[in-house]
């Protein structure tokens, strides 16, 4: 196949490109320039589109022996990922920008351009398995597994995706990079949100959305416990940074239960009030039957899995959890898996709209 390898400048995508070449594909490397004003050098482990990363990717492509280009995707990234991130927080939801980037940039904007230019598929360094059976599965390396942020891909997108790293641990990938004389073998993993270089998400949102003071209220009594500078700065299940004036009577910590953009209110309560056992979600991408009596669902990136029964009707997914989950935030993805010895199989994904207690629904 003629394949396009998306190369971030990190170790994973470099080894993925090298493996694609070894597999006999005609590989072309592309670095995506996503920042409007790229920084010259990396600072710490944040960011993924500095000029240094671009050079690292080019150097890796030269060592592997493949053509290399930089594609400017800054506008697409800004419109589909950064603006979406801000808008979702403004609406009281908690977005996952990595998921959105896979959906809209790597496997839409980049894939479209690649296919139009005559490529058959896009290769990335994601840690997930996508074998001959076409099923998307978790990586061998559970700690590095990225199937959660890939589950949004449709059948057609998966048909043009190649993930060469799913059968390897991160440690093996690094060792292979060193054996291949790739200078990025020891480069630190990137983490956090690439477009917030200082890691201050709340400060970033405030710079975009402005200050919007409002109340923090007790979910049980309705009492005002404190104030905030913008409800968008909070996430369901968050405990730190509430800065409440009124301590809880029982002395136990309180958590963000809900965010109401209309009244600009953040509602807090004790940990047990976070528990939900019914999750509804929309925008499903589904690869399985509409009713599944028994599967596992994951409700946030790197979150624990919960057994559930899932049903899909009229574009709405309902998951009945067999044990309660906490910290279920609208805007995050719910991903359903079927446990499998060769890697848990992704059944589908949808965007969480609400979590509730079955008792309250009854």
């Amino acid at each position: 196949m003629r394949v396009l390898a998306a190369m971030s400048g990190g170790v994973d995508s470099a080894v993925a490109a090298a493996r694609a070449k070894d597999a006999g594909h005609d590989v072309t490397g592309v670095h995506l320039a996503l920042a409007r004003n790229p920084q010259t050098f990396r600072t710490g482990a944040r960011g993924c589109c500095t000029l240094e990363d671009s050079r690292d990717a080019r150097r890796a492509a030269d060592v592997i022996g493949i053509p290399f280009y930089v594609w400017d995707m800054a506008e697409e990234f800004h419109d589909n990922v950064v603006d979406d991130f801000v808008n979702e927080y403004a609406a009281g939801r908690t977005p996952n920008p990595c998921l959105r980037c896979n959906e809209k940039i790597k496997f839409e904007a980049v894939l479209d351009r690649a296919v139009a230019l005559g490529f058959d598929a896009v290769v990335t360094g994601h840690h997930a398995r996508l074998g001959a059976d076409g099923l998307l599965r978790r990586s061998v390396d559970i700690a590095k597994d990225q199937s959660y942020v890939l589950a949004v891909l449709t059948r057609a997108q998966l048909d043009r995706a190649v993930f060469p790293l799913g059968d390897s641990t991160k440690e093996q990938v690094r060792a292979e990079a060193a054996a291949r004389d790739l200078a990025v073998a020891d480069k630190p993993d990137s983490h956090d949100i690439c477009f917030i270089s200082d890691g201050d998400t709340r400060g970033f949102l405030e710079s975009k959305l402005g200050s919007a003071p409002g109340d923090i209220v007790d979910g049980r009594t309705g009492e005002t416990l404190g104030s905030h500078n913008g409800a968008y700065g909070f996430t369901i299940g968050q405990r730190k940074g509430l800065d409440l004036r009124v301590p809880a009577a029982d002395g136990r910590p309180r958590y963000v239960l809900s965010i109401t953009p209309v009244s600009n209110t953040v509602t807090v309560g004790p940990r047990e009030d976070l528990e939900v056992d019914v999750v509804t979600a929309d925008r499903p991408v589904w690869h399985s039957s509409a009713d599944i009596a028994d599967c596992e669902v994951q409700l946030r990136a790197h979150g624990e899995v919960v057994s559930a029964a899932v049903s899909l009707a009229d574009g709405v997914l309902t998951a009945r959890l067999k044990s309660p989950a906490r910290g279920v935030a609208a805007g995050q993805a719910i991903v359903a898996y079927r446990p499998d010895a060769d890697g848990d199989i992704v059944l589908g994904s949808a965007t969480i709209t609400a979590g509730s207690r079955a008792a309250a629904n009854a």
Binding site: T28, R58, V70, D112, V115, L117, R155
Partner: protein, 391 residues
């Protein structure tokens, strides 16, 4: 493989490579007083004389540098500093809108860091500077102008500027005129004395010499503040140990290129005209950018409506055809060409351009290879703009 990017760099001529290797085998710093140093100095000075003779300069006017970018920076900044030091009222730096970034960014730096007022000369649709604009500017503000810089020929679209006329206007007002002749030397007649310019940039690797060797031809009476201070080489204007093998190979390349220039230009222009005609026949809506008449012999430059230049480049590269979008890169991201924008092109046309440049080893087989690959690449690149993969 079809190498159609000679304006980026061209293969070393065998005579230059042989001269380089022979000189590189010898030891000796041209500034040393012993026999080894004298041997090196003799090679450097003979090279200086050969380059001067080939380009209509006096040997003492040849300042060896590390290449075109350094020569441009030295001329623009050095002459500005010296002229302003002599008269603080001279704060204007004048350059055309289509200069190479080595001039443009040096000029912008003077504006941002040194308090210079930058005046940009507009160009017409062919990329040509109108001498009347320069005449008006000199008439109006001549006593404030520190330096004027206009390239001899453009590196993207190949347009040749009216250098003698511009230099004469500047000289009549006592204003130093610098010209970047990096693309012109070896392609068309370049004579420093006859041009009337005060300073002229050339570089070795565009005419068959090594990368990293260049020169500024600088009139003996032109004051120029150095960029590099040190051992006082090159009239104290450019300190640093002279690169004997680079200079020797540079001289061999200049001499050879100028000796064969007329025959070369005739052959390459015919090949270029064939290329341009065949491109237009196969891609009828392709726009030929630049001047038809006043143009470097090896340059062909097209906009392909509906295509992105970097997509075309990728597709041609995959077919073994090497060309250039001709534009500057930041992190490898293609920027729309400032040259085409200055010529009045819109952003889309500026981004849809490719430069094909022929050189001394170009053959009709190179043109054939381009024409075999181009129509398919254009068709694909056009589709890429609007393509949505079904999902």
């Amino acid at each position: 493989m079809a190498y159609l990017d000679h304006a980026a760099t061209t293969p070393m001529l065998p005579v230059a490579l042989d001269a380089y290797v022979a000189a590189a085998r010898e030891v000796g710093n041209p500034s040393s007083l012993h026999a080894a140093g004298r041997g090196a100095r003799r090679l450097v000075e003979e090279s200086r004389e050969r380059i001067a003779a080939a380009l209509g300069a006096r040997p003492s006017e040849v300042i060896f540098t590390g290449g075109g970018t350094e020569s441009d920076n030295l001329a623009v900044k050095g002459i500005f500093w010296a002229r302003r030091a002599a008269d603080p009222a001279r704060t204007l730096v004048v350059a055309s809108a289509v200069e190479h970034h080595a001039v443009l960014d040096a000029v912008d730096w003077l504006g941002a860091q040194e308090g210079a007022e930058v005046v940009t000369l507009p160009v017409d649709g062919d990329g040509w500077v109108d001498p009347a604009v320069v005449a008006d500017l000199i008439a109006e503000r001549g006593d404030q102008i520190a330096v004027i810089s206009v390239q001899w020929a453009n590196n993207e679209v190949g347009t040749i500027q009216p250098i003698a006329e511009l230099a004469r206007l500047a000289a009549a007002a006592g204003i130093p005129f610098h010209t970047d002749a990096v693309q012109a030397a070896g392609q068309i007649p370049v004579d420093f004395a006859a041009s009337g310019a005060a300073a002229l940039t050339i570089t070795a690797h565009k005419l068959g010499g090594p990368v990293g060797a260049g020169a500024l031809l600088l009139g003996r009476d032109i004051a120029c503040t150095p960029l590099l201070h040190g051992g006082g080489q090159e009239r104290d204007v450019r300190s640093g140990t002279l690169d004997t093998p680079g200079v020797v190979a540079f001289a061999a390349a200049v001499e050879s290129a100028i000796k064969t220039r007329d025959e070369y230009a005739q052959r390459v222009a015919a090949l270029r005209d064939d290329l341009a005609a065949r491109v237009r026949a196969l891609v009828p809506d392709a726009v030929y950018n630049g001047s038809a008449a006043d143009r470097l012999p090896g340059n062909a430059h097209f906009s392909f409506p509906g295509c992105e230049g970097d997509a075309l480049l990728l597709l041609l590269d995959a077919q073994g055809v090497y060309c250039s979008t001709g534009s500057a890169c930041s992190a490898g991201v293609a920027q729309p060409s400032h040259v085409l924008l200055a010529m009045g092109a819109d952003d889309a046309r500026a981004r849809s351009s490719l430069r094909f440049t022929l050189g001394h080893d170009s053959t009709v087989a190179d043109v054939d290879a381009l024409l075999a690959a181009l129509p398919g690449a254009v068709e694909r690149a056009r589709r890429a703009g609007a393509w949505k993969t079904p999902r």
